[in-house]
């Protein structure tokens, strides 16, 4: 069975591809996504790896509006609401793989969890440090340096950045400390819930639930291990390997394989001291040291660029897909009953007007849109089926054997 590899241009997939090309019996095939916008595109780095390894390469360019057009199919395959559009370009990528006659691809998934590559690990380290010396004026500067690839963040006023990333009383003692800013950003989406849904949820606290699920020894672990655990136990299986992994790959009958998640690799990495994974603020330190000779210097020394895709802008503007206005219409929103029609209209107006919105508004918009598409695809189908069954049950004699 011929095996291909995804090549993002980052460290992890480059390591996997470099190691695979050494043992492959024929010329290795590699596959990439390209974006129109420089903010997301990594084509030069992908080309660098293709040249260095001599792989036979294919790429698909995903435009902002391609994401909007593919999104309903992505939600149907994910079978759940999602907060980001990042699975959509990978849906387009697995289609390319399939068109080229491949059924199995290797990817770099898992390295960021296992070897501590995510920015949230560095962010938590800075926040913890700042929380212990709260008057330090340089902390916002450090945070700005942490996200050099976010142009909007660079412009944000220092005092507000400090408040956002800063800690509230009690945060330091919270076992979920590392992820609190992210959870707070995400929970903004709840402002759009309908009155009915709000009263049904009542006082339910998802974070309290999550705290109850933590392993008994959790609070005694190193802070980095705690953050790694939250990523690995919850985000990895529920999102990265699912909506953004298996679901969009299998949509085109492509199977992803993840060498970094080999049990032996994970167990080995689990025994490596935290300071060798995140060395001061250098992510995946030991992995970089171990693979330095495998990669061109420009890849090996590259600062991390997380995989991201255009969010809210994929759904508004001159090339926006037709279904968006219908799915977000006050009637459709009221029909589904999950969200407040007036609030959704205001958010959609804001996205239309600004084109580029904040992370939290973008996540709320994508969450609402995907929940509506998900309800259309699954809940309403169920209602139609139930109605049909009921009608047949009540039908005169000749039809009743059908039920």
């Amino acid at each position: 069975m011929p095996i291909g590899a995804y090549l993002s241009g980052g460290l992890d997939s480059s390591v996997v591809t470099a190691l695979t090309s050494r043992i492959a019996r024929s010329r290795l095939r590699t596959f990439s996504v390209a974006f129109e916008s420089d903010e997301f595109d990594e084509t030069p780095f992908q080309q660098e790896m293709v040249r260095a390894l001599g792989t036979e390469h294919a790429a698909t360019t995903c435009t902002t509006y391609d994401i909007g057009r593919l999104f309903p199919a992505v939600v149907r395959h994910a079978e759940r609401p999602i907060l980001r559009t990042a699975p959509a370009p990978l849906f387009a990528l697995s289609r390319l793989v399939r068109e080229r006659g491949f059924k199995v691809v290797l990817t770099g998934e898992g390295a960021d969890e296992v070897f501590a590559g995510y920015d949230i690990f560095k962010e938590a380290k800075i926040r913890r440090f700042a929380a212990r010396s709260p008057s330090a004026a340089w902390r916002a500067l450090l945070l700005r340096r942490l996200y050099p690839y976010l142009p909007s963040l660079q412009a944000q006023p220092q005092q507000y950045l400090a408040t956002f990333f800063g800690s509230r009383p009690g945060d330091l003692d919270d076992p979920l400390f590392s992820h609190l800013p992210r959870f707070r950003t995400t929970s903004h989406g709840k402002a759009f819930f309908s009155g009915d849904l709000r009263s049904e949820i009542g006082g339910y606290d998802a974070l309290a639930d999550l705290r109850d699920m933590l392993p008994e020894a959790f609070t005694r672990w190193h802070p980095l291990s705690q953050a790694q655990y939250l990523e690995t136990a919850h985000l990895l299986p529920g999102y990265i390997l699912s909506a953004q992994g298996d679901r969009v790959a299998m949509a085109h009958a492509v199977e992803g394989r993840f060498p970094f998640l080999d049990r032996r690799v994970v167990e080995f990495a689990g025994r490596i001291p935290p300071q060798l994974k995140l060395s001061v603020l250098r992510e995946k330190h030991i992995l970089k040291e171990a693979t330095r000779d495998l990669l061109p210097p420009v890849i090996a020394n590259r600062p991390k660029q997380p995989y991201r895709a255009p969010d809210a802008e994929a759904f508004f503007g001159p090339g926006a897909p037709d279904y968006v206005e219908e799915v977000l219409s006050p009637r459709a929103i009221a029909d589904t009953g999950i969200f407040d029609p007036r609030a959704v209209t205001r958010l959609a107006d804001k996205c239309r007007r600004l084109r580029s919105v904040s992370t939290r508004d973008g996540m709320a918009l994508v969450g609402i849109l995907s929940a509506q598409l998900w309800a259309d695809a699954f809940l309403k189908l169920q209602t139609t089926q139930d109605a049909t069954v009921a009608r047949l049950r009540n039908a005169p004699e000749p039809l009743s054997h059908l039920t």
Partner: protein, 88 residues
């Protein structure tokens, strides 16, 4: 004039940060940061609105919670800026 400014600011915050009507009314001196209504990106949206709606220039050094953290402080800041502009 001051009342009008306050009304415009409140309407902008409702449409762009609160989104819903059924939340209990935003108090004039309620902290937008503490209520989680505004973040570091939202503050730039607010500044763009103030500059566009009232025709003033907000200096970077003025983007601080003392000027921008509640309906009352924002309206006070705008009133002050307009008074200076008119006097000039």
């Amino acid at each position: 004039m001051h009342g009008e400014i306050e009304r415009d600011v409140r309407a902008f915050i409702t449409d762009n940060f609160l989104f819903r009507d059924d939340r209990q009314a935003l108090a004039d001196d309620e902290s937008l940061l503490e209520a989680g209504l505004i973040d570091s990106m939202g503050i730039l949206e607010l500044v763009a609105f103030l500059e566009g709606r009232f025709g003033l220039h907000v200096a970077d050094s003025e983007i601080v919670p003392a000027n921008m953290d509640s309906v009352r402080s924002i309206a006070g800041y705008v009133t002050g800026k307009l008074a200076v502009a008119n006097a000039a």
